[in-house]
């Protein structure tokens, strides 16, 4: 096993059972619609720290769940 994700429906399972998703965030200072669209679909915050992300439990309930994960050490906080 490696990193585990807690699925609220199924319980703790290895990360390999899940598919990664992400919540794009566009900074407020980008106001031009085209620039906002480019940022939304291509740019990433890519933080070295905690980020909120979505995982789909492909091998279990087949539903999305939301966790907060520290990208430096993969610690999950929710």
């Amino acid at each position: 096993m490696s990193i585990q994700i807690s699925c609220p429906h199924c319980g703790k399972r290895p990360i390999e059972e899940f598919t990664y998703g992400e919540i794009p965030r566009v900074p407020d200072h980008i106001t031009d619609p085209d620039a906002r669209n480019v940022d939304r679909v291509f740019m990433y915050t890519n933080p070295a720290g905690v980020q909120t992300e979505r995982w789909f439990h492909l091998y279990g309930c087949r539903r999305w769940l939301t966790v907060r994960r520290d990208t430096r050490d993969n610690q999950m906080s929710e």
Partner: protein, 128 residues
Amino acid sequence: MPELKSLPFTRIVATPMALDATIWPAEALAFRAANDEVLLLASSLPTIADPHAIILPDSGFVGVWLSAEALQAIFEQHCEWALPATRPVFVQGAVAGIAAKLWLEAERGLLIVPAAYGHDFAERTGLA
């Protein structure tokens, strides 16, 4: 060797509230696959209090009843995650690299996988 057989499930997708309130037929096995989804093994259908519920027969899963010992042997070799101690219990997750569903009773259990993976699952777990 016991083999995987098609299971006559009914698949029900409805609001979690409607599923919570449903009274399942006696002797039915109702597996809560997700908050809003139930896999039902029963001879009759209950009323679901959701006018938009999707209720359909589903032959897409195969399964096999195995003794607790036989299941234990499979899990030990092919399942990385810990099974809960309570019985009876319904759990889901990867077994032998395939999405499996398990209904565990005290002395036996039902092991369920999508029919599309039945061949591989049987081969990997020695059920074939």
